[in-house]
């Protein structure tokens, strides 16, 4: 499955905060450009970190720290083995790789927010705690979703280069608003994918992530002063919809590894 997302624009590599270099046509958004979508969302111009890998390194985790972070063995991960049919495994790998794109996005976002806050202290106590917690969790999810894909015999998708609007690194409200959007997307994606997962261990594993993403969403909404759950039931999203929602934040085309559907 090839996911065509935003085009790569070389000028973005040297983008300065507060400027927007070119448009980012998104094939999945009805022809709406990324810039116009950002404007509709009330977000400012996009910036791409000049050092895309550095903010995430501090949250690179060992298995030992993952155990501590999970409070114990991670559901489904240790037991996972491809006992499902070949087609089922292929399907599950594709689902997990789509989830991995979203986890990479969240991990990168929170890592950069934490780095920005360390540089200029723009968050307040509970907001800062939340950013650090979510950065930890999403880094763990990236690590273990990748591990699950490998256990199933697949190849984890590489982390795409990301870009985020400048104001999320300057304004607590902007940070929380974008965090809500990303987390809601993740919750909906996991819920929408659950009925399609073939392997029970994968399902258990995905469910354990889904629960935490839901906690994240409730926490961030609470910190924003919003209603923590707009509806009594979570709303599922298709994988295609969830990945399309992530597209404005991804700089390059990404190609799913061979054999992932």
């Amino acid at each position: 499955m090839k996911i065509r997302l935003a085009q790569n624009t070389p000028a973005m590599d040297n983008a300065t905060p507060g400027t927007m270099n070119g448009t980012m046509p998104n094939a999945m958004s009805g022809g709406m450009t990324t810039e116009s979508r950002m404007n509709m969302m009330g977000l400012g111009p996009m910036i791409a970190s000049p050092n895309l890998n550095a903010p995430v390194e501090q949250f690179g985790a060992t298995q030992a720290s993952m155990m501590r972070a999970s409070g114990g063995p991670i559901p489904g991960l240790r037991e996972a083995k491809p006992t499902t049919s070949a087609q089922g495994i292929t399907n599950d790998i594709a689902i997990l790789n789509s989830a991995l794109v979203l986890e990479h996005l969240e991990a990168e976002f929170y890592a950069r927010v934490v780095a920005a806050d360390q540089a200029r202290s723009f968050l307040q106590g509970r907001q800062r705690n939340a950013a650090v917690t979510l950065a930890r969790d999403e880094a763990a999810h990236v690590l273990n979703v990748s591990e699950m894909i490998v256990k199933l015999g697949g190849a984890p998708i590489e982390k795409p280069p990301f870009q985020f609007p400048a104001n999320v690194f300057l304004s607590p409200i902007a940070f929380l608003q974008l965090a809500v959007e990303l987390e809601e997307n993740g919750v909906g994606a996991y819920l929408g994918a659950a009925p399609m997962v073939a392997n029970k261990d994968v399902l258990n594993f995905a469910a354990s992530i889904y629960g935490i993403e839901a906690r994240h969403t409730g926490l961030i909404r609470f910190l924003l002063g919003d209603q923590i759950a707009p509806r009594p039931l979570e709303q599922p999203r298709t994988i295609e919809e969830a990945v399309a929602n992530a597209a404005p934040f991804i700089v390059k085309d990404i190609v799913m590894p061979a054999g992932t559907g």
């Binding site: 993952m66 999970s70 354990s208 409730g218 979570e234």
Partner: protein, 244 residues
């Protein structure tokens, strides 16, 4: 409670339940033992037998009944909480949170209640048991330890404990749900429960997300905990309709 427009009816294939809940329980236990034996090393033929056993012995209505009573417990707890001294000690925003949780847990109960009726499952309690009145003028069904509603701290502690057990039970039941059409609604409820828990822990001054992966505990163990503390019976036949 009027129908919540946000709660849409769930459509599932009709299921014919056994006549007696008590004999069904023994039957299910026997089936679980057989299924457990078959699952150790399955040939394709044995897998077919297992699937047939699952359909015959109707494992999912047991899970549904359990979740139904769990949501009823939450609905009851948060309804009582809103009339307590502990609630009056909350600040405005905290009360708003409890009000929201109470509404949404009532909606969860409504979803599962509709689902049970739709599947024509036999209610596990009798009308006589449920209509025993408390001083609050509602059916006396669950019991609560002394003092849980007396002050903010106790109320928050109990609310958090209850939510954690409910969430762990939902996640612990993932393996037990055979009907994929039931998995979605259960997960849709469980996600919102997790939101509730994060917010409750936040206002209690606790780490709202202490681990990176949601916990799971077998519903049997959770049922024992809830039974000891609240008189929860796991969706099974009722003996006394609650204490005090």
């Amino acid at each position: 409670m009027p129908n919540d427009p946000m709660v849409s009816p769930l459509v599932f294939p009709p299921v014919t339940p056994p006549q007696s809940a008590l004999s069904r329980r023994n039957f299910l236990m026997g089936a679980a033992l057989c299924a457990g034996g078959l699952m150790l090393s399955r040939t394709p033929a044995q897998a077919d037998i297992l699937d047939t056993l699952n359909k015959i012995f109707l494992l999912d209505p047991t899970v549904l009944g359990y979740a139904h009573e769990m949501e009823e417990l939450e609905k009851d707890f948060f309804a009582r909480a809103r009339e307590s001294n502990g609630y009056m000690q909350l600040d405005g925003r905290e009360r708003g949170l409890f009000d929201l949780i109470a509404r949404q847990d009532a909606a969860h109960f409504q979803v599962l209640d509709m689902e049970r009726k739709r599947r024509r499952a036999t209610p596990s309690d009798t009308l006589e048991n449920r209509n025993r009145s408390s001083s609050l003028g509602r059916p006396r069904f669950f019991r609560y330890p002394a003092g849980v509603f007396d002050n903010r701290q106790n109320l928050l502690r109990e609310a958090i404990s209850l939510k954690e057990n409910v969430i762990y039970a939902y996640h612990g039941a993932v393996d037990l749900v055979r009907d994929p059409s039931l998995l979605g609604p259960a997960a849709a409820i469980a996600g919102v429960e997790s939101r509730h828990l994060a917010a409750l822990r936040e206002i209690a001054g606790l780490d709202p997300v202490p681990t990176s992966y949601e916990g799971q505990v077998s519903p049997q163990i959770i049922g024992q905990r809830l039974g000891r503390r609240y008189g929860f019976q796991g969706g099974g036949p009722r003996n006394n309709g609650g204490a005090q």
